[in-house]
Every structure is written in C-alpha cells, then in structure tokens.
Symmetry: C2
Subunit: 420 residues, 2 copies
C-alpha cells in the first residue's frame, strides 16, 4: 500500500495548486452532499460505543453530526484557500562562481497517521496532506470505523472523479492492529508517522516505530501570574484556559503565582475556579492562603487538597488544577522547564522585562503573554487545520499545518562549473 501511495504521490507532487484546490473544494462539496450517509454510519459507531460503555467526553468527540460534517467541510475549503507551500523558495543566492542556488519546498512524500476515534481528524489530515502534495495512510480508532469508512468512500470517489488515484488517501483500518504495526515498520516507505491521541498511544508509537515520528499533544500546560500581573486579566484567562474545554491538550493544568500577589489573588481565583467545579491541588503556601480566606468567608464549592509530588508532572485532562506559589519569576521558569511537556505556557504580567525573560527562557512550543493557552491550535493560528501539535523540537514545533508537511530540496543551476 505504501508503495502504491508513493507512486500516486509522485504524480500529485507535480499537480499545480489550481488542480489541488479544485479537488479540495469538490471534496468539501461531496462531504456536505453525502453528510446523511456519513452521519448514518456514525450513528452505528455511536450505538456500539455507547453499548460498550464509552465515557461521555469520548462519545462527544466521536459524534459526527450533519452540522459537524458541514463545519469540517468548511475547514477543507479553508485549506483550499491557503497558499500552496510546494514550490516556495525558502532561501537562495548565487555562489561566487555564478552557480545559482535555490532551496525550495517540496512534499514530504507518504505520511502515516495513527489516531483515535475523532472522525474530523480523517478529513483534516486528508485535506492538509493533499494540499501539500503528500499521500497519507490512516489508522483511525476502531470505534470510528464505520464513520471513517463512509468518509473515505466519499474522498476516494472525489479523487477518482478528478483523475487522482484513490491510493493518495488510504486506510489500514481493515488490518486492525497489524495495520498500525505495519505503519511503524515501514521505514523507507513512509516518510513521517504522526501519532495523535492519548499519552499511551503516543508513547507506544514513539518507542516502537522505525519510521521517523513527530510526538504530539501531551500538554501539562502552565500559567504564571507575575508580581506585575493585571489580576483582572488573569482571572478570565485562567478560567478560559482551564474550563472552556476540558480534556484537550491546550487546557491549563497548573497555576504558578508570584508570592507578592498570592495573598490577594489566590482567594479570588480559588473562588472563580470553584464556581466552575474545579478541584484545587495546592502546595503548602497556597493551601494556607486559600484555607485562611475560606475560614474567613466561605468559598462556595471549594474542593482543596494538598498537591503531592506526582501532581506537578501530571496532565489531569479534568476539572483539576495544581497551584503553587513561587518566590520569583526564576523559580516559575525553572519549575516550568522541569515539569512542562513543552506544549504551551502563559505569563500574565504588565512588566516588559518579566515578559521578555519568560518568553525567552521558557522552553516550550508556544508561549502566551496575557492570553489564554486555548489559542494554541492550527485553525486559530491561521494554518487552516492541524495534523497535531508537535511537542518536540525536530522538524516541527507547535501546531502542524501545510508547511510542516513539506521538506526542502536544493537546486543548483550552473553553466558547467566544476570544483577547483
């Protein structure tokens, strides 16, 4: 399959942007046209998942309604509207001997994707891959099998109608676990493998794959409230980052508060978070401050527990937040660089020097200043959609869009030059 995908990709790589964008818009139309069929297939998956006792949060992610299909199709149109990364000249100059050098973007080749039961990912990944001239082999979650099958049928038909090979977007789901294993073994056939899902899935792929992997998604996300923070900005940012959507990688998990504002700020934020049913796991200093305030005037719904050492490295993906009081911005940065997964961190501050220090020294893919960490997202960043959010440093870091699905090629145009 990977060989067939590579052959098909070699032809797609030569297609011009106009042809690729027309294809994507037709895929968007076809998805809307066949939304009832896809939604009906999804109902079968939903029924089976419900009967097997899938938790509500996962059921919600699995649900692919006609409305959500339409929104996903809109995303495909957005990708069609973006600039084509293929052919972009990244650098170039003439060598002293007149040889003209240009480094240009080219597709990676064949991309493999292993993901869990989120049907929109199938469409997002297909559209990004096609636009950037790549073929893609998909291994979706078992729970979304019928939905993915129906979705891929629509994409395959549209590819064929436009004279492209249906090998460009293919699924290995019919091979079950063996399909995922084959993707991980296919060094030389697959250029990049991206796992997207829970920590267990990602770790398993990173440890077992012989194909180069980009790690995505783990997010032990911190917000640091500086001595010079505007506390009126801090509360909505923290509430948004923690509660706007729980269980996603860009949701905040830890709150670090500078000692000089802790007495004023911690009771306020404890009150606000408690109103959203967020359980607090605090270090000793923060615990004392919050408890004292609670004793004085009850904080409704307060659930406060002492944080254990394991809390600082844990991505809760739940209505929980770790809280720590720090003596300095240095301590905040060092704590973050020690415990973060390198996804997204934020500072709330009005102090220019503190912001410079934090943005320079925090070693994560995204650093937000006075804004919610929930903005770390390919769509929000204007990349159209995303293949995932890379938390590693090699090749791609942060939301992966079209550019991250390319590599480069140097071309040297000469007139007979030889090396002296």
């Amino acid at each position: 399959m990977a060989s067939r995908a590579r052959e098909a990709q070699a032809r797609l790589a030569q297609a011009d942007s106009e042809a690729k964008d027309l294809l994507l818009r037709s895929i968007a139309d076809a998805l809307v046209e066949h939304a009832d069929e896809i939604a009906a297939a999804n109902e079968m998956d939903m029924q089976a998942a419900f009967e097997s006792g899938m938790p509500e949060g996962l059921l919600d992610r699995l649900h692919f309604t006609v409305e959500r299909i339409a929104a996903t199709a809109e995303g495909v149109r957005a990708v069609a509207g973006l600039a084509d990364p293929v052919g972009e000249v990244v650098r170039g100059h003439n060598m002293p001997n007149g040889l003209r050098l240009a480094q240009v973007r080219v597709p990676l080749g064949v991309v493999g994707m292993i993901y869990e039961a989120r049907p929109n990912v199938t469409v997002d990944v297909a559209s990004l891959s096609l636009k950037s001239g790549n073929a893609v082999l998909l291994r979706g979650g078992h729970a979304a099998r019928e939905t993915n099958r129906a979705t891929l049928r629509v994409i395959s038909q549209t590819l064929a109608e436009h004279g492209f090979s249906s090998d460009l977007v293919a699924s290995v789901d019919d091979f079950g676990r063996a399909g995922a294993d084959a993707l991980m073994q296919a060094r030389g056939y697959i250029d990049l493998l991206v796992p997207r899902g829970g920590a267990g899935l990602i770790r398993s792929v990173v440890e077992n794959s012989k194909v180069p992997v980009i790690e995505t998604g783990a997010g032990n996300v911190h917000i640091y409230v500086d001595a010079a923070a505007d506390l009126h900005k801090a509360i909505p940012i923290i509430i948004n980052a923690k509660t706007q959507r729980v269980g996603v990688c860009n949701a905040a998990e830890k709150l670090l508060v500078h000692r000089s504002v802790a007495k004023e700020f911690l009771p306020e934020i404890a009150r606000a978070l408690s109103a959203y049913q967020v359980e607090l796991r605090a270090d000793a200093v923060s615990m004392d401050i919050i408890q004292a305030a609670h004793d004085e005037s009850a904080i409704d719904g307060l659930r406060l527990e002492a944080a254990g050492p394991e809390d600082w490295g844990t991505e809760y993906l739940a209505l929980k937040m770790g809280i720590k009081t720090v003596d300095s911005i240095d301590e905040a940065i060092e704590h973050i660089n020690a415990f973060s997964t390198g996804h997204t961190e934020a500072i709330v501050s009005e102090d220019y020097a503190a912001i410079e220090e934090f943005t320079k020294r925090v070693d994560s893919a995204v650093v937000m200043v006075n804004a919610s960490t929930r903005f770390t997202d390919g769509g929000m960043f204007g990349l159209g959609a995303e293949l995932g959010i890379s938390t590693q440093k090699l090749h791609a870091r942060g939301p992966m869009g079209l550019q991250e699905l390319t590599t480069t090629k140097w071309i040297g145009y000469g007139m007979g030059q030889v090396r002296p």
Copy 2:
C-alpha cells in the same frame, strides 16, 4: 554530562550575537596560537594509526597539520561572520482578535555528534553549535583521540576566559564505546544526534538510538547526460565529480546517458575517465558501445567490466563508475529515484523542459544542473561549515549549517484575549 550541558546551554541561549562572535574569534586565535601543540598531539595519533595499518586515504583525513589547523580556524572566523539564526522571526501575523503571533528561531538545546577520525570536524561542529546557541557532546573516532583532546583543551580554555562554561563543548571519548551508547540512550537529555562517517556507523546509530537522529552522508550520486546535453560541458563535470576527490559523499558514482547521444558520448567519456584510472562498470548497451570504440581505436588504460545488479545501489567511494544507457529522461529519473541515497544528482542538458522535469521529479536533497556534484557542501553553499549532509527529509535536508541547528518557538502577545 548532558544535564550539565543543558544548564550551560540555557545560559548560552541568552547570549547576544556579539558575545558569541567574540568567543568564536577568540577560539580561532587560540587554535592558531596553540597549533604546534595540537599538531604534536596529532603526530602521536598519526604514528599509532600508521602502525595499526590505517589506509592512506584515512591517514590523510586524520592528518591535522599547522596549515590545516589554520584553515580550520579560518572556518571558525567565517562562522562568526554569518548572521545569527537565533531570534530570527520566521513567520508572524495578528490573529483576528488582535493576538500578535510570532514564530522565532531558538537553539535546539543539546546536540550529540558521533563521528570518525577527522579532527577538523571537532572544530567545525563546536563553532556551529556555539554560534547557534547549542551545547554539544562529541564522540570522536578513537584514532583521533590525542588530537581531539588537545583541540578541546584549547576550546575549553577559551570558553572559560570568556565566562562561558566548558560544559558547552564536551567529549565522551574517555568512556570509549560506552560514551557512544550513552549518547544514543539519552532521550530527553539530548535533542538531536548526528552520526557522521561510514555507512556502518550511520546504520548502527539510526538503528540503536532512542534520541532523534539525522542521517548523513551516504551518497550514491548520479549524473544524467541528457539527449540535449552540451557534451563539452558534460566531460569536465563528470571528471570533476568523479575524480576531484574520491571517497567523499558528493563524488559521483553513476553515469546515466541518453541513448540518442550514447554512441557519440560514451567512447569520449570512457577515454577521459580511463585517463584518470577510473574503472568502468557498464550495462550491456553501454558496454557494447565502449567495446566497439575500443576495438576501433584503443582507449588507453581502459578497465571495463559488466555491471552486476548490485552495482546500481553501491556507493563505491573509489575510482569506479557505473554506466548505464537509458531510453528516456523518464527512465533516468525512475532509475535514480529507485537506487539513489537521496544525496545529490545532476543533469547535463541545454533543454529547458528536460531540466524542469529532472529538478522537479528527482527526489534528492540536492539537484545540480550543468554543474559538478562536488558543490554539495556547507562551505560551498555559504553556510560557513557543516555538521554533515542530511539525506533524510525530516528537519534538515542537504548540508546542515546554523539554521539546521535551531528549532522555533511561537510567541503570542495578547491583551487578555480568551477563546470564545
């Protein structure tokens, strides 16, 4: 050691370009000043290598004379003169809600390098790493042990004189093979591992490393002489690419000739290559043409053998060249994409359409048009020096200079924005 390197790197990452360039120029001065000491240490390595029967080509690579030390120091000054990649804004825009996004270049962190007995690599890698804000852990070849020790002593002293930690450039050579193994296991401590040397070394690192690796150097390099080639350009390009330096990765190994010019061109190039003692391994068609010409008028020094199937995938690194006659540019491109290691390929042609076809469809790091493949080199490309030549597609492709030693970080500057 990797932890100490990371601590030292965190401080180097904040150093401004001026301080880093001053450091590099002082290292260059110190190398020249201590060139006698380093050359004396090298004499010990040379003596031991000679006694152990090291082949002449490798002995030449190991030799680090006062003149070569001066040339290497000049390379350090060239790196000091290049623009600092750290801080470069790669992309940026405002989100519709006013959040200002910037993607900036930052150092990778800690780089590991496993290489063979080439003393100049120690200096090249140290200068590129320091300039790009990275720490580096080196595992050099056993045969260059005394040379590397003397070189690193000079670099360490200069680092200390400038207030930088000597942990920034450290060697694991004292730990022997265990040092290399530790580098490969240090996931989370080392951000990138680059093997540079023979195919065996590279394969071993790629297969055993848990740290992300960039493959370098394997070069089964092709030159295609098109139907529309200027044959007067083709001969010097091929002679230069094959013979100017044998045993390097950018030397040409295979020659593909379009059938329509084979009768005219093959006898000429066979004569030219034979004058340089190059042994020819030809397919049946090319063999017949060269043999017929030789029968008619003897080609001095001709060594002609039938190519076996294993020839097409072999990097000779010797005075040998595989020759094949192809029916079309399509056949040439397909042969290259099937057998190349993805390093460098060249086309000799005056036909615009053929050149476009070749440069677009050949899937290698570098494609040369009417120029020698020997130009694929960081120094030649204006990158100052090179860490190696990547033959893979992820993160870096082709000569790796300063930019390839960086990753990026997104920074979002907000005024309290939250996600709706």
